[in-house]
């Protein structure tokens, strides 16, 4: 790691802050109260169940903390969170089960 020069840091941070705001504001800001077409709504219903799994699948399969290799303990944690979340419908229970299974698996595998 090399130190980040101040000018580089501030220009990058301001650009990322502004760009991120524009992404978030895009549809909320431009479209306002106009209704969305039906096909768009049909696709948008599946935003959460598509984007979050796409984001998370590589993080689970090849976690950076395990050097980008498949890690059985982290797979067990993710599987526990998935099962508990899907069957109980409770988010927090799924987090606790997932981290609990991960710690248990790490302890078992030493």
């Amino acid at each position: 790691m090399t130190p980040i020069p101040d000018s580089v840091f501030w220009s990058a941070t301001l650009a990322l802050g502004l760009g991120t705001f524009l992404i978030r504001f895009s549809f909320l800001g431009l479209i306002g109260g106009r209704p969305m077409p039906g096909w768009a709504m049909r696709l948008l219903r599946y935003v959460p169940t598509a984007v979050l799994p796409a984001l998370v699948a590589p993080l689970i399969a090849w976690p950076a903390a395990a050097g980008g290799q498949i890690d059985p303990a982290r797979l067990a944690g993710a599987a526990a969170a998935l099962m508990v979340g899907a069957f109980s419908g409770r988010m927090l229970g799924a987090v606790v089960a997932g981290m609990g299974a991960l710690y248990a698996a790490q302890a078992l595998m030493g």
Binding site: T13, G17, R24, G85, V95
Partner: protein, 245 residues
């Protein structure tokens, strides 16, 4: 005040996130400090961007000596999913005053989106002021805790021992958010196709694989929904057909 109840329900919906946001924020504070950022820089980054994954990406790339423009573009690609959140919330919050929409957009984090869309899907006809109150209620335990966690990590500066595997708090949280939604065939299809595509596209430049895989998942969900409707038409659809005949 008739919106107070919705605000309190929002706070209750946001509160569980606190348990993962605090350590995640602290982890970012530690990482940023180790990369040589001072307290003010760390706080500026975390409060101007409020998107953990992209903040990690930016700090990682800048301290690897990557060009600033490339680091910013990569971090923005990580955040592009939020355009989809923005679009998905628009049917519910689109009629709010501009300044409310701007404020809601500034704080549109994953957790706020997940909690809000779950509520709006359950109660699509709830009045706008209550939808707004719920949204900002969710933010109350989420955003300040993200700031506090970052500051704590940056000031304590202490390494969080790797055996706590806090790196995995983030993926676990995302799984925990999605799992309760996987109770219909279209949602299962969306999640399965999106994960499989994301794994298959892991070679693609960071962010682009995510976008393609998300689009594939959304398409799969919509296609399965359409197929199910065709096989078993909804009552309104049957009426329309009868009228047309």
């Amino acid at each position: 005040m008739r919106t107070r109840g919705a605000f309190v329900e929002g706070v209750a919906a946001g509160a569980p996130f606190l348990l993962v946001i605090l350590p995640f924020g602290a982890l970012f504070g530690v990482v940023a400090t180790e990369a040589g950022l001072d307290l003010m820089q760390t706080f500026a980054l975390t409060s101007l961007v409020i998107a953990g994954a992209s903040q990690f990406a930016l700090v990682q790339m800048l301290s690897d000596g990557a060009p600033a423009a490339l680091a910013v573009l990569t971090a923005l690609a990580v955040n592009l999913r939020m355009a989809m959140y923005s679009a998905s919330l628009t049917p519910h919050l689109g009629k709010a005053p501009l300044w409310v929409r701007a404020l809601a957009a500034y704080f549109l984090v994953d957790q706020a989106y997940a909690a809000a869309i779950a509520r709006y899907s359950r109660r699509p006809d709830e009045p706008l002021p209550r939808k707004i109150a719920f949204y900002f209620g969710v933010l109350l335990p989420v955003v300040p805790v993200w700031f506090l966690g970052t500051l704590a990590g940056a000031t304590l500066g202490a390494r969080i021992p790797p055996e706590y595997a806090l790196d995995f708090a983030v993926p676990i949280t995302f799984v925990a958010i999605v799992a309760p939604m996987l109770r219909s065939l279209p949602n299962l299809a969306a999640a399965f196709v999106a994960s499989a595509a994301a794994l298959a596209l892991a070679w693609a430049p960071y962010g682009s694989g995510l976008l393609l895989a998300s689009a594939a998942g959304m398409g799969a969900g919509a296609a399965v929904e359409l197929a199910l409707e065709r096989r078993r038409p909804a009552p309104e659809a049957q009426d329309e057909r009868r009228n047309a005949a």
